[in-house]
């Protein structure tokens, strides 16, 4: 059993991984003609300006919900996906544009463990062969010239067997010839770990390493990872949506939301005193396995918006319980508010003049609707009336509501610039602290 007890801060070495304003944008699949009609490039902003560094020997957690970009950051770090812009440094070397052979050499030093142990192993390869395959691929690097020789084959086998022992895949002699289909979930994950370790990497990116395992065996695999780290002096980038596991395992933690890091700092401190409203929300909703500790939760409204058109300013602003006027209100937000209002039978009064909702268009800071000349003034009045019931922060952000020609126009003030701010021992990206 691994204890937290006196977990002294790890002996940290130099910076081993650094991401510098990395963007990863994926093109959205659309018909050719439609693409021509777009004014700007339509991409999925999976990772939008992420910077952080990891020092040798530490475990940095990348935490967030699905769609926040954490998996993409992990994959970009090992160059399984190419950054659209920005730079990635490994042990001081710029690897952002590395290709071909140089990239292959890099692979020995950094490895990634994927989320689903059941799908990460080739069903057509025996465990022994799968774990040893990296050695075959990089054979020459180990100084053994002749990959076809018997000596090499034996050497590979020895290495595989000893690695299997190390990760607890025993009896290794028997399991060597089995296929993934014959193994349990926990065993498969151990095999995946063995395969990642056999080359002796210094950085391991773990993408949801235990999320798909049963709870009663998660602990064992986590323990294994922690032991291996100590033994081999590894550094981990631990990607997960499981905040509780991250708290236990990680030294530092970065909370991600919709492609950006909103808070990053020492794990213990962030958990005991979260600063960013999103971090607070996340921590609040973690179910506690104690029926006596049920509590009322204040949940952020709605769901994570799509990453193709992220909200402007602070991306969390449409859902944030502590939102301010300067956080990034835009036309879209008003249209959403109006939609809510029109759909609620209790609130809607004589709103027919403002409907249907499809008549409204949002363009940046402006929301507008075309109306008949005789209705325009009345519509403006209605809008102002409705706004009384809107969130204060939103109404404070409105610059003007006016009638222009035959259009009702609502314009917001531009948001304040969002900056990463140092708050105590961590960095937060939130206007509350600027």
């Amino acid at each position: 059993m691994t204890g937290l007890e006196e977990r002294s801060p790890p002996e940290l070495g130099d910076e081993i991984l650094r991401l510098d304003n990395v963007n990863v944008h994926f093109p959205v699949k659309m018909p050719f003609v439609q693409r021509l009609l777009q004014r700007e490039e339509v991409v999925v902003h999976a990772v939008d300006g992420v910077s952080f560094s990891v020092r040798a020997g530490e475990i940095l957690g990348l935490v967030g919900e699905s769609g926040c970009g954490k998996t993409t950051v992990g994959r970009a770090s090992v160059r399984l996906v190419n950054p659209t812009s920005g730079r990635i440094f490994f042990a001081g070397q710029d690897i952002s544009k590395l290709g071909g052979r140089n990239l292959r050499v890099l692979r020995r030093k950094m490895q990634i463990i994927f989320q689903d142990p059941h799908a990460s192993l080739n069903p057509a390869m025996t465990i022994g062969r799968a774990i040893g395959h990296p050695l075959w691929i990089h054979g020459a690097a180990f100084g053994l010239q002749n990959r076809g020789s018997e000596a090499f084959g034996k050497w590979v086998q020895q290495r595989v067997l000893s690695t299997m022992r190390e990760v607890g895949l025993t009896p290794e002699g028997q399991l060597f010839d089995k296929f993934p289909g014959d193994l349990s979930g926990g065993q498969k994950q151990r095999a995946v770990i063995a395969r990642a370790l056999i080359l002796g990497p210094s950085l391991l990116v773990v993408d949801e390493g235990v999320s798909m395992l049963d709870m009663s065996i998660r602990a064992k695999v986590l323990e294994l990872m922690i032991d291996l780290k100590r033994h081999h002096g590894l550094t981990y980038l631990f990607i997960t949506h499981d905040l509780a596991a991250a708290k236990f395992v990680c030294d530092r933690i970065a909370i991600m939301y919709l492609g950006r890091i909103v808070e990053i700092g020492p794990a213990r401190d962030i958990y005991s005193d979260p600063k960013h409203p999103y971090t607070k929300a996340l921590l609040q909703v973690i179910p506690i396995p104690d029926p006596d500790k049920r509590k009322e939760k204040v949940l952020p409204r709605g769901e994570v918006p799509d990453a193709v058109h992220p909200p402007s300013g602070c991306r969390f602003h449409p859902r944030c319980p502590a939102v301010l006027a300067a956080c990034g209100w835009e036309g879209r937000d008003f249209v959403d508010f109006l939609d809510d209002h029109l759909s609620d039978p209790k609130q809607a009064g004589d709103e027919s003049i403002l409907g249907p909702i499809e008549g409204w268009r949002a363009d940046g800071l402006v929301a507008m609707m075309k109306a008949e000349p005789e209705n325009v003034e009345k519509a403006v009045e209605r809008v102002k009336a409705i706004l009384v019931g809107a969130p204060t922060a939103m109404t404070q952000a409105i610059a003007s509501v006016s009638a222009q020609n035959r259009t009702v126009m609502l314009r917001f003030n531009p948001p304040n610039e969002l900056r990463q701010t140092q708050v105590q021992d961590r960095v937060v990206e939130c206007l509350l602290y600027q």
């Binding site: 065996i217 064992k220 986590l222 929300a281 006596d292 939760k297 994570v304 939609d339 759909s343 039978p345």
Partner: protein, 318 residues
């Protein structure tokens, strides 16, 4: 008060190439009207089988023994026609993946109208208005009623599936891993909805999950399954604070939560259900196993009022 649902000595054996998989063995359970009962277990414990057995949607060729009584009626011998009426009107099921229930070619409105008109003879107008009501109560905008399933996010689809399940106001809702694929915040929202439903309609909910955290949050009682057998049953507080079965103890100890100081796990892995261990199925992994555990199947004993466990040494943990 008569329980709404009574499962008596239910055994389900699946037919496979290698032999019969004894997915559920002599399973007993009662669910009362208005309560939320959690059914908890890990991979291969049989919890999904339970849900399917109650709804009569087990694959053909499956051996079923024992009884499932709903309001006193035995479901195991119900004809197809009767079962179809039951499903939806009285018992509803929601799954982990809403897309298995939603037809990508039908709008949300169509789904509702079909569901309502399948069970009740009402006009389309009436059906549509009820649909609108159900959807709005789930927090879905009226403007989106004509949209197709793929135009909604995962959390929304889950809500739609719940709305679809309750539109006919069933007395029992079986939720099989309803939030497993959702993020924590959306999961909380969905759980909130389930609790509101319970309060508003006095609905019984059978919550099947491997997540003990949500069981602690929303359930009144909990049943723990291991390798096809019921090993513990009782009020959540009792089971969580004083687990009587070593498997429950191990399971609770292995949960990683914010206050976890040490990692715990259970040795070994779940048994092969084609040839499960003799006596108590948990004995190969149990730290307290004795010879009696290998020889005799432990009976389900009420060690304290309402709190049952199937362990020869349950009283030692009281």
């Amino acid at each position: 008060m008569e329980p709404l649902l009574q499962v008596q000595d239910l055994s389900v054996h699946y037919k496979t190439r290698r032999g019969f998989v004894r997915a559920l063995e002599e399973f007993k359970l009662d669910a009362l009207q208005g309560e939320t009962l959690g059914v908890v277990g890990e991979t291969g414990c049989g919890k999904s089988t339970l849900g399917k057995a109650i709804l009569g949607i087990l694959p053909a060729g499956t051996q079923v023994e024992g009884k499932v009584l709903f309001r006193g009626r035995d479901l195991t011998h119900l004809g197809n026609q009767m079962y179809r009426r039951l499903r939806g009107e009285e018992i509803a099921l929601i799954f982990q993946d809403p897309m298995t229930r939603l037809n990508p070619l039908m709008t949300i409105m169509d789904h509702f109208v079909e569901e309502i008109q399948d069970h009740e003879s009402v006009s389309s107008a009436e059906a549509r208005s009820r649909a609108r009501e159900a959807l709005v109560s789930m927090g879905i905008h009226e403007s989106r009623i004509k949209n197709y399933p793929h135009e909604f996010s995962g959390g929304m689809r889950q809500r739609i599936m719940i709305a679809l399940a309750i539109v006919l106001k069933p007395s029992l809702l079986i939720a099989d891993e309803p939030t497993t694929s959702l993020d924590v915040i959306v999961e909380s929202q969905i759980l909130g909805i389930l609790q509101d439903l319970k309060r508003a309609y006095h609905m019984s909910v059978l919550l099947i999950t491997h997540n003990l955290g949500i069981v602690a949050e929303v359930c009144d009682r909990v049943a723990v399954l291991y390798a096809g057998k019921l090993v513990e049953l009782g009020p959540v507080r009792n089971v969580f604070h004083k687990p009587l079965h070593p498997y429950t103890q191990g399971l609770l100890a292995s949960i990683i939560h914010l206050e976890t100081r040490e990692l715990h796990s259970i040795e070994g892995s779940p048994p092969d259900l084609i040839a499960p261990p003799s006596g108590c199925r948990f004995h190969p992994r149990c730290p307290y196993a004795q010879s009696i555990c290998v020889e005799k199947v432990p009976p389900l004993v009420e060690f304290e009022p309402g709190h049952f466990a199937a362990c020869h040494f349950g009283d030692k943990f009281l």
